[in-house]
């Protein structure tokens, strides 16, 4: 599956198209022998195209590991991962890198930006790396959406934490990836900045038809998603659709009990 401008609109309709990311029987363990840690013990999950999904679970439940495996940042111990029609497991580093470059966007909790580049250069970085031209309309729209028009020439050190995260969001959006993975993107932000970033993410799903998978600890953040899946001890244990902070909190309580 390739990305064209037209498809963005089509996906915007949120039809039940083929899922963007699918994992089957995913396992991941660290170490060997007695000290082996089974971070994932067989996860089956799929993420719908054009949907905003949150992953939740207690600390150490395997959320980050799952995301890394899905994004091709880490190798899996068993099972399969598909991004669109491409199977990740078994790809070499070079192919994985190209795949990330073409199809995946990232937003991390911190250290998202290169300190030597301006905000605009940071936003365009994935396209530059791929040797692609930015779609100027999309660029304007994205910059407008995240409200960074007057901050484009600044370097990360001259931006607030919230602004930095918004630059990261813009960067993830600009290359029109098949899926954006975000690991606690608002973990370092105060609630207002966090809310801003989250609404941008939701807007991009609604308006640009973007697919987003987000790991979070925060029930409020999770409530911005269309669906929340819950992990415990490396297994997918529960999920809810159209979450509210309260319903997420309830599920979490049940899990920890």
């Amino acid at each position: 599956m390739t990305l064209t401008g037209g498809e963005v609109g089509a996906r915007g309709a949120r039809e039940k198209a083929a899922p963007a990311v699918v994992a089957k029987g995913l396992t991941k363990s660290y170490g060997r022998g007695d000290t082996t840690v089974h971070a994932l013990r067989g996860v089956d999950v799929s993420f719908a195209t054009g949907a905003f999904t949150a992953i939740m679970g207690p600390s150490g439940s395997g959320k980050s590991t799952l995301m890394h495996c899905l994004a091709g940042l880490d190798t899996v111990s068993g099972g399969q991962v598909h991004i669109g029609d491409v199977e990740l497991t078994g790809l070499g580093d070079k192919r994985l890198t190209l795949l990330r470059r073409e199809r995946i966007g990232f937003i991390f909790q911190a250290f998202n930006l290169l300190p030597t580049l301006t905000a605009e250069q940071n936003i365009r970085l994935p396209l530059d790396i791929a040797g692609r031209q930015a779609d100027q309309d999309l660029f304007d729209r994205v910059v407008e959406t995240v409200g960074l028009r007057d901050r484009l020439g600044h370097r990360p050190t001259e931006l607030s934490g919230g602004q930095q995260q918004r630059v990261a969001v813009a960067r993830a959006l600009i290359s029109k990836p098949q899926v954006i993975f975000a690991d606690e993107p608002t973990g370092n932000l105060d609630s207002r900045s966090g809310a801003e970033v989250l609404s941008f993410l939701r807007t991009s799903v609604r308006e640009l038809g973007q697919t987003i998978v987000m790991v979070t600890h925060d029930p409020v953040a999770a409530s911005y998603a269309d669906r929340v899946v819950f992990l415990r001890d490396g297994l997918l244990v529960s999920e809810i659709h159209r979450p509210t902070p309260q319903s997420v909190l309830d599920t979490l309580m049940k899990l920890e009990a």
Partner: protein, 839 residues
């Protein structure tokens, strides 16, 4: 605290090694120099001590005052010595020149072979290595090296010219080792019986008389007796003292070698100190949080300071130990190399590692390392405990401070001013030293100004690589200018080496062109004939014969005599030339036609020495016409080396000095005569005169260039050490930066930068650093090379050896890339997930 420091050191073994290596190389070079010279000295002393065992008393001529005649001992002295009480035997040593004729019928070698006496009995100090010593006047021995290069072996007949150039034949009965005698090693030597040696060399006098004392007579008793028998005018010493003196004189020789090598060693140490300074500065910056944490839990400033110093002490000790090992190995290699190149060095001596060398190496390594770490250590004490709580270490932003600008401007201006003053001075040593001082001050200015230069220069040299390497290239360019102070120190280390290399290249290039241009301008000679012994002359018949040859256009013969010129008794060469068509030596004013009977043209140095100007009168003591009074018709530049310093017309010269042989002939072939034809004609004409050495202008030039090239190669090689150390610095800085940017690299990889692209990014960064260093070095080297050549001679043909310098730049860039290999590999290998989690 100590434990924490040591644990930290162990945790970063690779970094420790890289850092230590920089200092170790410098220490190694210096320690190696000492081991080498000590070993040579020890070898010499041993050999001389062995010689002293045979000699109880040595008689030497009193140091002479007349420089023209080497000091000697009259033959009659030998009888007096033999008659002295307590003398069992005494032998006079004869030494002079006796040119060996090679198998081609020409005198062998560039200089006439030495001729010497091989004495019989216990006083024989000539080391016969095969065959036997000469017993009759028909026998001779030859030094091993000459025998090998000229293809003679024991049993052969050899022909040698005596001092009047008459041929004598000898049977070669043995070969000998010239031992440590530098002169004999250079000229080669033929040994005869004492009587024959006197005949061959024409020396009826001795250079030395060796004495064996009778049974029961001490060296000192014998010495007193001999001294009393001889009276004043001699130097009479015991064998022991004789050996000591010889050893000391050789020690002075190795002293020069030592000083020369140590200079390069100091340059290397300076560069190493820069590297260490930079490494510790980066380490302190990177560990801000760690140190703040230590301060939070109660460490005092002193303790933090101490921990950095302790770390540097450990590095210094480690490097010194490593350096000593390295130096020992280096000197061993150098000894082997020198011996295999035929240098007259004592063989079979184990390298000497004296306590002084060890102490010096350790002290040097530790002092330089700790000294370089002092400033960073002080910075470390300024870390506030609160820094532990900040989430991210701020990038050190660099702003061009007023103090820095003022300081840099001061240094740069002062340096430029002093240099300009040196250039404006009359050429000479003082001017050169002034320029050198100016250069040093200017360099300090560059050191201070460096951080300001890094960004613009990085943009300049990085433009093309950034274009070619795409995004990695652009990122690399940004990174190279990210921490200007760090980049500046890193590159300045390289600049030191490149500056000096360029300087040498420019100076030698300029000397080369100046020399050849002069040669071409003055008198484009095709062939030069000179006697093998520069003080001898050639029969005039040779020149006459050449003049009759139709293929030759001109044959200019020069004749000279050394005599007193002026009132103060100064001696100069007074000479003339046989005019030939086309020979018009250049004068400062007017043409050679000014040289009319009763006049002289003189070199500028003569005019300066005697305080003369054109039109003045000059007195010349002559052999036949008494003291004559000549008018100075013109002056000329003596550097052309064509005309004798005081040149008179040919007729006058004959009148003044009578029949004098030619000391030099410059020959030009007619146009259209092939080079090999001309050469054959000239050589055929010279064949009957074994000592007449024919050289073509191309050969003269070739020899000169060869020796220049050799010099450039040696100096460049020695400076290479400083460059190598600076590359370690680049590698170190880069690997520390890579470490610092672990998370950044992971982010880039996550965003789709491939491993090769990440590696390329770091390579380009190193390339840019290397190029900045090289560029500044080349600019400085060319600038000060120009200034230095200005101080050497008048009207130099300034020449920048472009290819050589481009090669330096290219190699620096390449070396930078090589330095990046390891850090880049490490960065590319790091796992993305693991790197994202660090922090």
């Amino acid at each position: 605290m100590v434990k924490a420091t040591l644990a930290g050191l162990l945790a970063h073994r690779l970094r420790l090694l890289l850092t230590s290596l920089a200092i170790a190389l410098g220490v190694g070079f210096i320690a190696g120099t000492f081991v080498l010279t000590d070993t040579i000295d020890a070898g010499f002393s041993r050999r001389f001590a062995a010689a002293a065992d045979k000699v109880d008393v040595a008689v030497l001529p009193a140091p002479g005052t007349d420089r023209q005649v080497p000091p000697h001992i009259p033959a009659a002295a030998l009888e007096k010595v033999r008659a002295a009480r307590g003398v069992a035997d005494a032998q006079g040593l004869v030494r002079g020149t006796s040119a060996l004729i090679g198998k081609d019928g020409k005198a062998a070698g560039d200089y006439p072979t030495s001729g010497l006496s091989v004495v019989e009995g216990p006083l024989n100090r000539t080391e016969i290595t095969s065959g036997a010593a000469p017993k009759t006047d028909a026998q001779a021995v030859l030094d091993e090296n000459t025998a090998k290069t000229r293809g003679f072996k024991v049993g052969d007949r050899i022909t040698v010219l005596d001092s009047r150039e008459a041929r004598h034949e000898f049977t070669l009965v043995g070969l000998f080792d010239v031992g440590l005698d530098q002169e004999l090693g250079y000229t080669g030597a033929v040994g005869y019986t004492t009587a024959m040696a006197q005949r061959m060399t024409g020396q009826r006098v001795f250079t030395e008389i060796d004495v064996v004392a009778a049974e029961g007579v001490s060296q000192e008793q014998a010495r007193t007796a001999v001294a009393a028998a001889l009276g004043p005018g001699y130097q009479v010493v015991t064998g022991e003292k004789f050996a000591d003196d010889l050893a000391k004189r050789n020690g002075a020789d190795t002293g020069i070698l030592k000083t020369g090598l140590l200079l390069f060693g100091l340059v290397a140490m300076f560069v190493a100190a820069l590297v260490i300074y930079n490494t510790f500065t980066i380490l302190v910056a990177q560990r801000t949080r760690e140190m703040a944490l230590l301060r939070c839990i109660g460490a005092t400033r002193g303790q933090v300071f101490g921990s950095v110093l302790l770390e540097s002490t450990v590095v210094g000790l480690l490097s010194s130990a490593l350096g000593l090992l390295l130096g020992y190995g280096l000197s061993l290699g150098a000894l082997t190399a020198l011996t295999s190149l035929g240098a007259p060095l004592p063989t079979g001596v184990a390298p000497t590692l004296t306590p002084r060398t060890i102490g010096l190496a350790v002290a040097l390594g530790v002092i330089v390392t700790v000294g370089a770490a002092l400033l960073p250590a002080r910075t470390a004490t300024r870390v506030a405990p609160i820094a532990a709580l900040r989430s991210q270490i701020e990038e050190r932003t660099f702003r061009t401070g007023v103090v820095r600008m003022v300081l840099a401007a001061l240094f740069l201006l002062a340096g430029a001013g002093v240099t300009a003053a040196g250039v404006a001075m009359d050429p000479g040593e003082t001017a050169l030293f002034v320029v050198m001082a100016g250069g040093t001050v200017f360099f300090l200015g560059v050191l201070v100004f460096g951080p300001v230069l890094v960004r613009p220069l990085g943009a300049l040299v990085g433009w093309l690589p950034a274009k070619l390497a795409g995004v990695p290239g652009r990122l690399a360019m940004d990174n190279s200018g990210r921490n200007p102070r760090r980049s500046a120190t890193t590159t300045v280390a390289l600049t030191v080496g490149v500056t000096l290399m360029t300087l040498i290249a420019v100076i030698t290039g300029t000397v080369r062109t100046t020399f050849t241009e002069r040669l071409d301008e003055q008198f484009p000679v095709d062939y030069l004939i000179q006697p093998q012994d520069r003080d001898a002359t050639l029969p005039r018949a040779l020149g006459q014969g050449l003049r009759n040859s139709p293929e030759l256009a001109s044959v200019v013969a020069f004749r000279e005599k050394i005599t007193k010129v002026g009132d103060r008794g100064a001696e100069f060469r007074v000479g003339t030339f046989t005019p030939a068509p086309g020979f018009r030596p250049e004068l400062d004013k007017g043409s050679i036609a000014l040289l009319t009977p009763g006049t002289a043209v003189i070199g500028r140095h003569v005019a300066t020495d005697l305080g003369l100007k054109v039109g003045d009168r000059i007195t010349v003591r002559t052999a036949r016409a008494g003291t004559v009074n000549l008018r100075v018709a013109a002056t000329f530049n003596p550097e052309s080396g064509v005309l004798p310093p005081v040149t008179v017309p040919e007729g006058d010269f004959d009148r003044y000095f009578g029949a004098v042989g030619d000391s030099r002939m410059m020959i030009n072939a007619r146009d259209g005569v092939g080079a090999d034809v001309g050469r054959r004609i000239v050589e055929a004409a010279a064949q009957p005169y074994p000592t007449a050495k024919v050289a073509s202008a191309a050969e003269v030039r070739g020899q000169f260039e060869e020796s220049l090239d050799m010099m450039v190669m040696i100096i460049t090689g020695l400076l290479g050490l400083a460059v190598l150390i600076s590359l370690l610095g680049i590698a170190n800085t880069l690997s520390l930066s890579v470490h610092e940017r672990t998370r950044e690299s992971a982010l880039l990889r996550a965003l789709g930068l491939t491993r090769p692209q990440l590696r390329r990014m770091l390579s380009v960064e190193a390339l840019i650093l290397g190029l900045i260093g090289a560029l500044v070095g080349v600019a400085l080297g060319v600038g000060f090379g120009w200034a230095a050549t200005r101080t050497m001679v008048d009207d130099v043909a300034f020449q920048v050896p472009v290819t050589q310098i481009l090669a330096f730049v290219a190699l620096s860039g390449l070396a930078g890339i090589v330095a990046a290999v390891l850090p880049a590999r490490r960065a590319a290998r790091a796992s993305i997930v693991g790197s994202l989690a660090t922090g």
